[in-house]
Symmetry: C2
Subunit: 358 residues, 2 copies
């Protein structure tokens, strides 16, 4: 669509906590890079979140999927608030949208950027560059389960993971396709088929079946416990990692921390069939402890914006935005405190725009 | 029992892979420390494992719980073999014994020892000293579940976590009691009650209820994803961590890696009621890749032996063994390669015995 196609329609949900602080920086960077690359964007804000829940009883309206259905992408902030139960905010928002839009891929690149101090001794930028491909619509997050004997001594709860062959095969296939398309040569499967004896052996079988279609790519399977250990001892041994919903969730928070901060990692919740809009979101939460201080790192949301541009086919603009982010975090004067810098949220955002040449 | 009580009866299962290499060192250290402290030990080996499975169709005999029932403790090696499906080895051995003996506590101290190089920059011995109290008999490891439409496109698998109020409360209570008894002042609960909306809210409620009985101990709850990140960014903020079966499994492998090697971390699978024998085991696996080379680190199994002595009431002997282990790993000449040293398994074991004065 560069230079004259129809405008990309982007829905923006700033969300709670630090969301309204980081989102303006992300939107502003998108507008800058769009202007510089001759891309038309039609950005529409949605005022959803915990305040709406406290006033009206729901985080977003019941017809939210219809309202968002016509957009090309959703740029989403975090929703979560100490006054609202977490189950309400997440099942009324992000988990609902992932399922409504069949966003079965949660793509999470994790990369130690040049100049950023990470917590691992002797691990430099080239040593930690992993793409996590997380299953995003089933598995441990099926939502199935319930409670028995509530309020009595005999009380118990069941939580049922549901894994389907179709659901596993499509995410594994996506991981291999992504690897091929990006010149990556190895795919690791996160498993726990020794203890989780019903679902994870099915996962392993599906992984092996799909892997057979990609003889050019090497593979291994690694137990989730050993995999977290491997991330801190041999991160360079990981290239693309495909994981279930919960395992991917855990591995990517750990990965973000190993890259210096939870504040930088992005995510793309994708429906690769493009029947529904995809959703782009920093992986950090609403961080009520630092909200309102203007110190949150906008990079997670900015990088998510770059992933949106990429998915929308705007490869040059995406690359330019990513380069501007990298320049900004490389300099202690323009990066935020979580990365050992001194910049405010607004200063970091301005630095990205300046690096873009905007 | 020091100095004249009846002998402690200890069953020893060397197991597979590196098990038969590290176990003689552990047994020999136990014998040495027992002799020096006037403790009588009655050690009985059990020849169970994958070879037995390949020959007779089961890893251990059907009456294994009866055979072990009269022992005071079990010192267990790893069982796992590339020729045998993992589900067979783990459900036919360690998971079966944990359930048969109602070993509902899996106690896993994780501590960066002096002189050992860990992977985290700027983190020294005092900064990483965490006791993990892992639930060990229910939750994600219930074993409940199954497959539907096997072999067809519509195939699916369900894996059901079962959490009981009694099961959660007893492990949480153990964590607080352990904290109190060992002068620890903070207990962190690992949760995921935002996404796992049935079981984890019950976990949180039980944690809050039990915590109210321990006003002298501070608490917090942390989502499992954020907790793995916190382990690498602020390990010093963790003191005692109580976690479900799966979460505890993941956190402790990560913790072991942060202490320099998977080869050092011990575990105690405890029935605190002492109706059944408790089981002590290094948390590492059978490591077929390095088996037979004499280079495996015996410390995980040796430290597990120290935990056994502790549980048997032999506090002085346990402390002496732990001190000997610490002296051994502090010196590159007596620690094994996984810790950056040069010693063989046998040399490390001999160094521990020498440090004991044996
Ligand atoms: C908010 C929460 C439900 C969510 C998840 O667990 O998927 C978040 O941690 C993430 O990783 O996007
Ligand atoms: C072997 C396996 C089933 C076991 C577990 O997951 O509990 C191991 O990883 C452990 O931590 O003791």
């Amino acid at each position: 669509a560069a230079g004259g196609g129809r405008a990309h329609r982007i829905a923006v949900v700033a969300g709670d906590g630090i969301g309204p602080e980081v989102m303006p920086e992300a939107v502003s960077a998108l507008e800058t890079v769009a202007r510089l690359h001759g891309i038309a964007l039609d950005i529409v804000p949605f005022d959803w979140g915990s305040e709406r829940y406290l006033a009206h009883g729901s985080v977003m309206p019941a017809d939210a999927p219809e309202q968002l259905g016509g957009f090309d992408a959703i740029l989403a902030g975090p929703i979560g608030d100490p006054r609202v139960p977490d189950t309400v905010t997440v099942w009324g928002y992000i988990l609902a949208l992932r399922q409504a839009f069949d966003q079965y891929v949660n793509l999470r690149p994790v990369r130690l950027m040049a100049g950023v101090p990470g917590p691992l001794a002797g691990v430099g930028p080239g040593d930690l560059d992993i793409v996590f491909v997380r299953e995003n619509t089933e598995g441990e997050y099926s939502g199935a389960g319930g409670r028995l004997h509530a309020g009595h001594d005999a009380e118990l709860a069941v939580e049922t993971s549901v894994f389907t062959r179709g659901g596993i095969e499509r995410i594994v296939r996506y991981a291999f396709e992504h690897a091929r398309a990006h010149g990556r040569r190895h795919v690791t499967s996160a498993t726990k088929s020794n203890a989780l004896r019903h679902a994870m052996p099915l996962w392993d079988e599906c992984f092996a079946r799909v892997a057979a279609d990609y003889p050019d790519i090497t593979t291994d399977s690694c137990l989730i416990d050993a995999l977290t250990a491997r991330m801190v001892t041999r991160p360079g041994s990981l290239d693309v990692v495909v994981a279930s919903n919960l395992f991917g969730d855990i591995l990517t928070d750990l990965g973000a921390a190993l890259c210096g901060s939870m504040g930088i990692a992005p995510s793309a919740n994708l429906d690769p069939t493009r029947q529904h809009p995809s959703l782009f979101q920093a992986i950090h939460g609403s961080a009520p402890d630092i909200a309102g201080q203007g110190i949150a790192n906008p990079v997670g949301e900015l990088w998510s914006g770059a992933l949106a541009l990429e998915f929308l086919g705007e490869h040059e603009a995406a690359a330019a935005l990513l380069a501007a982010i990298e320049a900004t975090v490389a300099d202690p004067a323009t990066r935020t405190r979580d990365l050992g810098g001194t910049a405010s949220t607004a200063e970091a955002g301005a630095a990205v725009r300046a690096a873009l040449g905007g």
